[in-house]
Amino acid sequence: MKRPIRVLIAKPGLDGHDRGAKVIARALRDAGMEVIYTGLRQTPEQIVAAAVQEDVDVVGLSLLSGAHNYLFPKVADLLKEQGVDDVLIIGGGVIPNEDIQGLKEAGISEIFTPGTPTAKMIEYIKNNLKRI
């Protein structure tokens, strides 16, 4: 049974810029996905609660404030703590290359930096879902 992929797009922490997140949300919508956007300034706990209740396939974190090394792994850890092991976690924003490896080790499957074509991200999501 074909069903739409459900994605939570979340902006963790103190970061008031969501143009990028909205562009991504729109691109995923146009790719046939159901995108739940929760708005600005979310705590990792709020993001995880929304991911659980919405039973999403993907959590997409967007962050431009520089706090990604703390907030991204925190979301991944909380999901793990709740036993959520079937969700693909991806991140995006202004993230220096040298941080990417560490984030991947912390459970963020892929990081998309500025300039990434949305088509590339859509393809990544479709090919890397953790459940059917």
């Binding site: 069903r3 949300a25 919508r29 995108v35 209740q53």
Partner: protein, 325 residues
């Protein structure tokens, strides 16, 4: 298959014990797979029917989500457990959607007594999704004693929420047209409570007056719906509104209208399920030996008409129907 059923029984057990993740997984199942939905609903039916179902509807941008947020906060402060199903439109082109109602309900995400679920309409036109009703049953069984259904922003005729809600809150805002709008048929007829949101804006008194006049025009009415002025962003008028919602439930119970409404809705549900099943069987019947294809040519060439063919195919369907059930 059996393994599948087993895991659903486990999910149901956990959901009944209050586990939100199991509840969410069950909603996903009923939203995506009619066969699983059937299995799940059969099992949980006995636990449903306890919640007060409140439908919140109104035009896009009227403030339904913000209002929902405030109503939920009030209800949980009174010790209730509240679930929200928030419906937003699905794109007819891509099948995708942006579900943005949670933005207005951010501080509710972590409350243990609240469960919020967003749904796309997925091609369904009545202001809800086809699967809203089943999701509702799961939340009802999970012990949420108030369930709020927030419809998509409606125009004039999306009234399906009456088929599942006990109390309909119709949200209106100033500035959307003159008094003719308020006497038109459609959504203006389904409200049990009328809310004028954004009451701090110019024109709110006039809108309230027009709605009141419209309501006073109706002669035969068991209960005249109240009109409540609120300003949801400032949390003004919410106490009154929540009192009216409770009043309405009391009225439904005392007048036995609750039972009446629910009976009518169950009847509708059964008929819809029969229609769906019959349709499926009819299609498999006509497909099986390419029966329809030949008849279509006959109709096209004016040798037969569509009604004649309908009767003929239905008559031939008897045995097929019995075997399919």
């Amino acid at each position: 298959m059996d393994g599948d059923l087993m895991s659903y029984s486990q999910l149901i057990e956990k959901m009944l014990a209050g586990d939100k993740r199991s509840c969410a997984k069950l909603i996903t199942a009923v939203e995506n797979d009619p066969e699983k939905a059937e299995k799940i609903i059969r099992e949980i039916h006995q636990y449903t029917g306890k919640a007060h179902i409140i439908g919140i509807t109104g035009p896009p941008g009227a403030g339904k989500s913000t209002l929902t947020d405030k109503i939920v906060k009030k209800l949980i402060s009174q010790g209730n457990k509240v679930a929200v199903i928030a419906v937003d439109p699905t794109s007819p082109y891509s099948g995708g959607s942006i579900l943005g109602d949670r933005i207005r309900m951010q501080d509710l995400a972590l409350n243990p007594d609240v469960f919020i679920r967003s749904m796309g309409t997925r091609g369904y036109l009545g202001g809800l999704s086809k699967y809203t009703k089943n999701a509702l049953k799961i939340l009802d069984a999970a012990g949420y004693n108030h369930i709020i259904i927030e419809t998509v922003g409606v125009g004039q005729s999306e009234v399906d929420v009456v088929k599942i809600a006990d109390t309909i809150v119709m949200v209106m805002v100033p500035g959307l047209g003159d008094d003719i709008q308020s006497i038109k048929a459609g959504i203006m007829e389904i409200g049990d409570i009328f809310v004028i949101n954004k009451s701090d804006l110019f024109g709110a008194d006039r809108t309230a007056l027009e709605v009141n006049m419209m309501l006073d025009l109706t002669m035969e009415m068991d209960r005249r719906p109240p009109v409540v002025k609120v300003t949801a962003v400032k949390n003004e008028g919410i106490d009154d509104l929540v009192n009216e919602i409770k009043e309405h439930l009391n009225y439904l119970k005392e007048s036995r209208k609750l039972e009446e409404r629910r009976k009518a809705n169950i009847k509708l549900e059964v008929l819809e399920l029969m229609e769906e099943q019959l349709r499926k069987i009819a299609i498999s019947h006509t497909d099986s030996e390419n029966k329809l294809e030949d008849e279509v040519i006959e109709i096209l060439n004016k040798n037969k008409n569509a009604y004649e063919v309908r009767d003929k195919l239905l008559k031939g369907m008897g045995t097929h129907l019995r075997e399919s059930l």
